[in-house]
């Protein structure tokens, strides 16, 4: 019985806290998203990326590359920036696993790195345990 008023107080405090969190989130999250979008999709960002791609294309053309090849290479060059989304997606799906591009070989390297990291962690834990014992 004596716990009842305390519980009520906690519940109202929780609600108050939730209210504050929601109010902070509702102002901070849109501002954060806006700034991220502004960095990737703005006139200035497009212009900068266009300038970089244009310089790349111009260099290729000046060095005597055929037009279709230069365009293809410029597409690939832009693709490096645009494929960042795919990388992020893979990171999200990986849940802590190491991903290296390059098909089977990349997978093998990734597995090897994971194995080595795990071995090192085990060694480190053992060393810490030994130190504690001493």
């Amino acid at each position: 019985m004596s716990e009842k008023p305390e519980k009520k107080k906690t519940a109202s405090e929780d609600v108050e806290e939730l209210k504050e969190v929601l109010s902070a989130v509702s102002t901070e999250v849109p501002a954060l998203i806006k700034s991220i979008i502004g960095a990737v999709f703005s006139e200035e960002a497009g212009k900068n990326m266009g300038r970089a791609a244009a310089a790349f294309y111009k260099e290729l053309k000046d060095s005597g590359m055929p037009d279709n090849v230069a365009v293809k290479m410029t597409e690939d060059y832009i693709g490096v920036f645009t494929s960042l989304g795919d990388i992020l997606k893979r990171v999200g799906e990986g849940k802590g696993k190491v991903f290296i591009s390059g098909g089977e070989k990349g997978k093998e390297i990734g597995e090897e790195i994971e194995k080595r990291v795990k071995e090192k962690l085990v060694e480190k834990k053992k060393a810490e345990a030994e130190e504690e014992e001493e």
Partner: protein, 86 residues
């Protein structure tokens, strides 16, 4: 008792207002995104045209740039639908 309840209701209502405000801001950002992408794409194409690229090729590369938005939205949708509490 009554005072506590009214405080609780007020807090819940203010939380609901915050959520509605958040959703409204996100909707505004989503609606404005298309316009921003169009502007960025046009600026990119203009720079490519300046370097002597044909209009068609510049458009093709511009479309590739604009596709990032679709990919990003798809990724966000997937992460939101894949999110589980607990």
């Amino acid at each position: 008792m009554g005072k506590t309840r009214s405080l609780l209701i007020l807090s819940v209502m203010s939380g609901a207002v915050s959520v509605i405000r958040l959703l409204g801001s996100l909707a505004v950002i989503y609606l404005g995104l298309g316009w921003k992408v169009r502007k960025a794409r046009r600026a990119l194409e203009k720079e490519l045209r300046k370097a002597g690229m044909s209009k068609e090729d510049a458009r093709k590369i511009g479309a590739q740039y604009a596709a990032v938005k679709d990919n990003a939205i798809k990724a966000i949708k997937r992460s939101v639908t894949g999110f589980r509490f607990g």
